[in-house]
Symmetry: C2
Amino acid sequence: MKNKNIVFIAKSLDGYIADKNGGLDWLNTIPNPDKTDMGYNRFINRIDAIVMGRLTFDIVCSFDCEWPYTKPVFVMSNTLETVPVEYSGKVFLVKGTLEGILKDIHSQGFSQLYIDGGLVVHGFLKEDLIDELIITTFPVLLGGGIPLFGELPRQLEFEHVESTLFLNAIAQDSYLRKR
Amino acid sequence: MKNKNIVFIAKSLDGYIADKNGGLDWLNTIPNPDKTDMGYNRFINRIDAIVMGRLTFDIVCSFDCEWPYTKPVFVMSNTLETVPVEYSGKVFLVKGTLEGILKDIHSQGFSQLYIDGGLVVHGFLKEDLIDELIITTFPVLLGGGIPLFGELPRQLEFEHVESTLFLNAIAQDSYLRKR
């Protein structure tokens, strides 16, 4: 299967992935009595591995719950030397250029990659390395926070693939990079 | 009918309403052979008048076409003293606070207002004066430009009303302010 880097991320209507305090409470403002996963498990089943930055890794580690990932997680860090022992066999450190990191991961047989975390997504977009965007938009203006998108050296055109509305409130749109 | 301030605007996937050069060429990247108006005329039929800033007015005036509006246009400007004679009876100057401007426009019998232009929309949002957002998202990352949204003093929750896909490419989402 062709190598693919895919983003699956939630943003506010005004494009933030975390509020002014770095918080995610706004993700829980829409009642979800049946606990729909908004396509998350279907997405996870499609991918081979997850690529995230050190910041996102630290946030996930801080959650008071079991390790949430069923696929290998590659953490991009130029400073971490070892993975805490409880994540052994689940989390793998990678460093260097994105090109080198991808080559390394692909050589291990992982081709469908979930690219996660604001800085990492932005880094991949700057090098035009994102093939698919699945963006879930919550109906709230946060008015500030951590933006999903940032400056890019050039325009990138995408093709719209699918719109889905969850909980009668949350629009999810999928896009493929036009190449 | 209850007074309503409505935004109808196109943005890129990364939230810009004009590209890095202030340009709008990206609005023409999706082939539109049958010239669908993406709900524009249906929207214009719903509104009584248009409110825009001086910058947007200047841009519209610069277009090499006939005056495009069939409803009265109120231009917010603290410096313009008179309207060019060719716009007499079509364009009206308003100034002062948003509250005062709205009172003035409502007193003339216009209640359903199309609020247009980035700075004006942002000014209205800062004072929580927008009741409905109709946002049309083009499938391109511009990577910079004039952002639709900006800093707000507090979070504003909306209710999702409708999703429509135009030209199999352009997603339009309507939101009502939750009050």
